[in-house]
């Protein structure tokens, strides 16, 4: 049992409360999800469970925390490590040794377990996570999902009763994330392990969740309890929950399966839709107007063929989303365009000019690139200086007014004089975006831009990208986020094993591919819906076409399980 009794926490006396008035109890052996906007205190709450906060970070704690009968604030994280295993966001920063077996054994050696017991623990743990075959592998040779499983194995080997994970799926593709989460759910059931996970991607996690803790931020007390009840009070939710909320259905559906059942009950399971063809999809005649062209590009790293014969055109005023599983070569493609990954074969043209031999710093004048970690691009003392630095690097005039105007567009005008690294995740990303957009590039490349962003920041980023698209920019977004891609893309490409395997209109490409579909697509297969708003509009149109109101009511409630009042009245 993890119990928070009137817990408040601030990193410094007199500063704002990061957590305020937390009152909840997480029962043992369940799957608990902690969610909330960026900066709402999710990581802080997780660290309070094992005592890293305040012992490692400092700060003021009020109230009482009880974790399996122990107060982590009193005993500290070293003692709590016997009961609470903590998996951090980036598995690579957690590894100390270089081989899977050694990495797990390192923990157990430090716990002074006898060698035969260590061997048994390693085997058991790897077996439980289904990665026994990785035992002798070098950590650097593992894929993203495998690394995450090894990170979980290292803490699980100490047999904790609580496993805390901070955004464990943020760097994984849909398939790997589902695999990890299923594993966690099985552990919770089979080993009576309490799993506490903080995540932004509710669409991936809600159907696993037994207990939900929502941190509204702004010094509001957390809401906790049954996920369906908590979700009713949350502003953002995955599409299936949003649909349930709009339809006024209770209990709310958490999974696609529950969503389908809800639609069937309401007689909405055969809702049809005629999607508008993508307006930004170029015709064959326009092919010569490509802003950026990749011609049979191949990239090799040692013995690995990272990209193989990839040909791709990017057009002005178009957002192209590039998807594919971890290790498919998506980031390599972006790096190849920038000249950061050397080409084995092929050519890259920008407005028909061959830029294959041009150095990165020259390409970056016309091709903007936002890497996965926007922090990497931040060097200056202030946000405004950050934008001016790019101009200086390119020997362009330091146009302060132009920079101020761009900051206005990015919603950062009030932060112009602040230190960039002090801002929130979403704000830092927009500063980095400003730093590359100030040269008015023709092409914008973004690598996993939704990583670590909450729904509000994600929606804001989508609006910004549409804004720049409408002003003629060619945009290429690499993402695992199917919901984001479905909402944003004018065109979608799939890359698998370094080859381009699909290229076309987003809805068609997604449905034809083997990758996990967005929730809307799963709810209404082959109907071409891209957002809840489109579904809602189709429902309204279908209802308005019915001449008799009583028929409409009958249609909507005839198969409903409860006696709720009619919808849309």
């Amino acid at each position: 049992m993890i119990r928070f009794h009137n817990v408040s926490f601030s990193y410094s006396p007199g500063q704002r409360w990061v957590i305020r008035g937390a009152n909840f109890a997480i029962p043992p052996g369940i799957f608990c999800l902690v969610c909330g906007a960026s900066g709402s205190g999710k990581s802080t709450l997780l660290r309070l469970i094992n005592g890293l906060v305040p012992h490692f970070s400092g700060g003021v704690v009020e109230g009482e925390i009880d974790v399996q009968g122990v107060n982590p604030v009193k005993v500290g994280p070293e003692q709590m490590s016997r009961q609470v295993g903590f998996v951090f966001q980036d598995p690579e920063t957690q590894f100390i040794l270089d081989r899977v077996e050694d990495e797990i054994a390192f923990n157990l050696e430090n716990a002074a377990l006898p060698p035969p017991q260590i061997a048994r623990r390693i085997t058991d743990t790897l077996q439980a996570l289904g990665i026994l075959h990785l035992r002798q592998r070098r950590l650097e040779s593992l894929a993203g999902g495998e690394k995450q499983k090894v990170a979980i194995a290292t803490v699980l080997s100490l047999a904790p009763s609580i496993l805390v994970l901070d955004e464990p799926t943020s760097q994984l593709d849909g398939g790997s994330a589902e695999e990890i989460l299923t594993l966690m759910q099985n552990l919770a059931r089979q080993r009576k392990l309490t799993i506490v996970i903080a995540e932004h991607r509710l669409d991936r996690l809600l159907h696993f969740t037994d207990y939900l803790v929502y941190l509204p931020g702004e010094e509001q007390p957390p809401l906790a309890g049954d996920p369906r009840q908590v979700l009713l009070q949350m502003e953002f939710a995955p599409p299936v929950v949003q649909l349930g909320k709009r339809l006024g259905v209770q209990p709310l559906p958490l999974s696609v399966a529950e969503g389908r059942r809800m639609l069937w009950n309401l007689g909405l399971d055969h809702l049809t839709h005629r999607p508008n063809p993508s307006q930004n999809w170029p015709t064959k005649g326009e092919a010569s107007q490509a802003v950026l062209s990749l011609e049979k590009v191949s990239v090799v790293f040692g013995k690995t063929q990272a990209l193989s014969n990839v040909s791709l055109q990017l057009y002005a005023s178009q957002i192209l989303c590039l998807m594919g599983s971890n290790g498919a070569g998506k980031t390599t493609l972006l790096r190849a365009i920038l000249g950061l990954a050397p080409l084995q074969e092929g050519r890259i043209r920008l407005l028909s000019e061959d830029i294959t031999a041009l150095p990165t710093w020259k390409r970056s004048r016309l091709i903007g690139y936002l890497p996965q970690d926007p922090n990497a691009l931040l060097f200056s003392e202030t946000v405004l200086q950050e934008l001016l630095l790019t101009l200086r690097n390119h020997a362009l005039p330091e146009a302060v007014e132009k920079a101020a105007s761009l900051l206005e567009k990015l919603g950062l005008a009030n932060h112009a004089e602040r230190y960039p690294r002090d801002l929130s995740v979403g704000e830092r990303q927009r500063v980095a975006l400003g730093a590359i957009l100030i040269t008015e590039p023709l092409v914008l490349l973004l690598d996993e831009p939704t990583r670590g962003l909450d729904e509000r920041a994600k929606s804001r980023l989508g609006d910004l990208l549409r804004h720049f698209r409408d002003r003629g920019m060619a945009i290429l977004v690499v993402t695992h986020d199917v919901e984001f891609a479905l909402n944003l893309a004018d065109r979608l490409c799939i890359l698998e094993h370094g080859r381009l395997v699909a290229d076309g209109a987003p809805v068609e490409v997604m449905q034809a591919s083997k990758m996990p579909l967005a929730q809307i697509q799963q709810l209404f297969p082959n109907q071409g819906f891209r957002s809840i708003d489109e579904v809602w509009q189709a429902m309204s149109e279908a209802l308005s076409r019915m001449p008799d109101k009583s028929d409409r009511r009958a249609l909507l409630v005839c198969r409903s399980d409860d006696n709720r009042p009619p919808l849309l009245e």
Partner: protein, 353 residues
């Protein structure tokens, strides 16, 4: 057999002895001819690769570093040490340190120092590519376990730092910085410092969350630390007593006391240290043969230089540059550093025949 422990690999003790022998050889001689022989021996062991635990055992050494260190050493020494008879030119003016005669002797001595440094770098490279961190940890006495782990973490930080430098360089290029001038290169430093501190903080948090050294923390650390400090105090007093004019036996008594305290602390903390070793690598006959090749050379050098005080390897280009002495049998002794390679080659041949 698990990966990383194939029969061609040598025990970490072999590599430690090999490394110690190389370091002693380099520290005993400034004869450029012998240094070239030692450098060649180390380079051959490096080129053979694959005799250690790590898969990347034959990762190439950046040889440009050696080529750079030798001329840099020569230039630095030539402009800072104005000794020797064969003058190349006179650096004019009254500039402190720099002005004065630039001699061939100083150039040769500086280049020889550069060569010695290059051997050390290459030898460390070979050692790092052949000994894994767990093996290194297991070699150390339990009393130094916590220190050893902290040291190992520092070692793992090096590749992380290399990656970080590359990332920052790329980020600068993305921002249009061509990193050509010194000023542009300085732009790497601050982000590198910030990101290194962030990584260090993350790693410390991970180690704390994993309960690292929680058992040691419970033991009586203050007492042992105090005793250790006391030992250092005695050591320092022994050294200072020479200046105070105390008799020799008094200094020896103080040194003896310090050694005794250190020994007690190490023994006691070793007994108290609570950790286990999961997988110890067996020490086989082939390890013993390879180790004895290095150990023979090591003992010979110690005996020759410290017991007999014979100037077998001595050479200095000062005051007048002359050809360094070269005894083929002495150069042949350095071939002892090839013993791991010879044992591996012999065993390979044996297994094929």
């Amino acid at each position: 057999m698990p990966e990383g422990h194939t029969p061609t690999h040598f025990h970490a003790w072999v590599w430690l002895t090999w490394m110690t022998t190389i370091l002693l050889c380099v520290s005993l001689t400034r004869n450029p001819l012998y240094l070239v022989v030692i450098w060649l021996c180390v380079a051959i062991v490096h080129a053979a690769g694959g005799m250690g635990e790590l898969a990347g055992g034959n990762a190439p050494f950046p040889f440009w570093l050696s080529l750079m260190v030798v001329p840099l050493g020569a230039i630095f020494n030539a402009f800072t040490v104005h000794m020797g008879e064969r003058v190349i030119f006179i650096f004019p003016g009254q500039l402190p340190l720099l002005s004065g005669k630039i001699t061939w002797e100083a150039v040769v001595y500086g280049a020889t120092n550069g060569l010695a440094l290059s051997v050390i770098l290459l030898a460390f490279w070979v050692f790092n590519r052949n000994v894994s961190i767990p093996s290194f940890l297991r070699m150390l006495p339990r009393a130094f376990h916590s220190v050893a782990i902290v040291g190992s973490i520092a070692i793992t930080f090096v590749p992380l730092l290399q990656r970080e430098v590359q990332q920052i360089q790329e980020a600068q290029a993305i921002r249009g910085n061509n990193l050509s001038g010194l000023r542009n290169k300085l732009a790497l430093l601050l982000p590198l410092l910030v990101s290194s501190l962030e990584h260090a903080f993350q790693l410390a948090e991970v180690m704390t969350a994993r309960g690292f050294l929680q058992s040691s923390a419970a033991s009586n650390q203050t007492l042992w630390r105090g005793a250790f400090l006391g030992g250092f105090g005695l050591l320092l007093s022994g050294w200072l007593s020479r200046f105070w004019g105390l008799p020799g036996w008094a200094a020896n008594l103080l040194f003896g006391g310090a050694v005794a305290i250190f020994a007690i602390v190490v023994l006691a903390t070793t007994r108290k240290a609570r950790y286990t070793v999961y997988r110890s690598t067996p020490f086989r006959l082939r390890d013993a043969i390879a180790l004895s090749g290095c150990a023979f050379l090591l003992s010979f050098l110690i005996f020759q230089s410290f017991i007999l005080s014979a100037p077998l390897l001595a050479y200095t280009p000062y005051p007048v540059l002359k050809l360094p002495p070269f005894e083929p049998w002495v150069a042949g002794l350095f071939l002892g550093t090839l013993s791991p390679l010879l044992v591996a080659a012999f065993q390979k041949h044996d297994s094929f025949s």
